[in-house]
Amino acid sequence: MRIRSWVAVIAGLLLSANLWAAMPILKGVGGDFSLQSSLGRQVNLTDFRGKVVLMFFGYTNCADICPTTMAHMSQLMDRLQPADRSRVQVLFVSIDSDNDTATHLNQYLAYFDPSFIGLVDSQDKIDAVAAKYHTEYVKLADSTVTTVYKKLTLAGEATDQQGYLFSHTAKIYVMDISGRVRGYFYMGTPHAEMQSQIEQLLQE
């Protein structure tokens, strides 16, 4: 019996070690913004007060981390209880103002989850929001990139175009119900951890 009791105590400790610390409020990162959206209207961050916002900077021609991250968030949404799910908003901010349009973003995001909202606007406005969030991106467009781009592109498509890629920050900004940045997820963050953190934020 004594051994069993110690096993219970140790199991308790191990279980508690798996709980994630509350996310701190990150200072000097984030802030309100207003951008055109895939909904066909201007969207402000303040529109989502009362919701946890998960925001990602990417572009629809991205071949790897953007779709992977959006799929990761789509799977996360599927895990959430309906009541929580309705209080979580995913925002995808396009860093590719030259090519992404509201319609294009709408189609792209619907593939992952129809509730996801895309934001696209002039490069100046996107740059200003990116600066607020300390997100970084740089467009790469040279012969090497074009060669890689054509390999990744489906046969017969865009063969005459110069290819381009963005090197960009790949974090998911987590904002609480008051619009404050509370930390970051990424495509490697386990769903259980994301779910637990979101549930904690929704209870605040």
């Binding site: 701190p24 409020i25 963050t189």
Partner: protein, 263 residues
């Protein structure tokens, strides 16, 4: 319910509470104490024309009571004495106990407890500027920790430039009231990435950069975290490092190394 089951439940709840309010892993350093220690050795460097490179600073021990109350700290250091025309210098390894005032802000005297002469020679490595600049950085940080505006003001040269990260703070005189207005229940700064670069050896001027992670608990009991970058221009005058330019900016705090990966 069996006692062990109840015990396990209590431990789980207590641990969960601890995790939820856990301070980011950083040793709590008393910046005023660090400043006093580095100023002590920077002053010795100046007076003795020697160098004292601190290898480690131990935890402070409070000893004595009443008027005799003071603090003792063990330090390990490597010293060299400069001599004109000499190219190679023997190093001296020492462990000393520093006796420090109860307020932790002034070294009263030192006592050597271990001494060993190195069995090799090396080039002379000066330490005066770095010790005095570290004293300045720690003292400045202590001033921010304790909202001591007059102490901060003493570190600024006349006509110095001050740029805070917060746009609403235009001058140093606005900075301490701003910090106070945050009404933090507790807060701590953890310094790292200190870099000292000589600007002009004759004028004894330096460019100093460092970062600090600033952790705090606000009135609502929420943890706040900021990552700050500091750039200073410093001049050493009469055995003290003084600031001619201070610029502080926000960086994005790093909370998960995985999220820092770029595509």
């Amino acid at each position: 319910m069996a006692w062990w089951s109840r015990c396990a439940q209590i431990i789980v709840l207590a641990s969960a509470a601890m995790v939820a309010t856990e301070v980011p892993a950083a040793e709590q350093v008393h910046h005023g104490l660090q400043a006093a220690i580095y100023q002590w050795y920077g002053k010795l460097d100046t007076i003795m024309n020697a160098s004292h490179h601190l290898l480690s600073i131990g935890q402070p021990r409070h000893v004595g009571q009443g008027d005799q109350a003071h603090v003792e700290v063990n330090v390990q250091l490597e010293s060299q004495e400069w001599r004109l025309g000499q190219s190679h210098y023997p190093g001296h390894y020492e462990e000393q106990v520093l006796h420090i005032s109860g307020t932790l802000e002034r070294v009263l005297h030192s006592q050597s407890v271990l001494y060993s002469l190195d069995d090799f020679d090396s080039k002379y490595r000066p330490s005066r500027a770095s010790n005095l600049i570290k004293a300045l950085v720690f003292s400045w940080t202590h001033g921010l920790d304790t909202y001591d505006e007059s102490a901060l003001q003493r570190h600024l040269l006349v006509n110095s430039t001050f740029v805070a990260a917060e746009l609403r703070v235009q001058k140093l005189i606005d900075y301490v009231p701003y910090l106070r207005s945050l009404n933090y229940l507790k807060n701590h700064r953890n310094l790292n990435k200190l870099n000292i670069e000589t600007l002009n050896i004759e004028q004894d001027t330096y460019r100093v950069t460092y970062e600090y992670q600033w952790w705090a608990v606000n009135q609502q009991g929420e943890s706040e975290l900021a990552q700050m970058a500091v750039e200073m221009q410093v001049q050493i005058i009469a055995g003290r490092a003084m600031i001619s330019l201070y610029k502080e900016t926000y960086l994005a705090p790093i909370t998960d190394a995985g999220a820092e990966v770029r595509c």
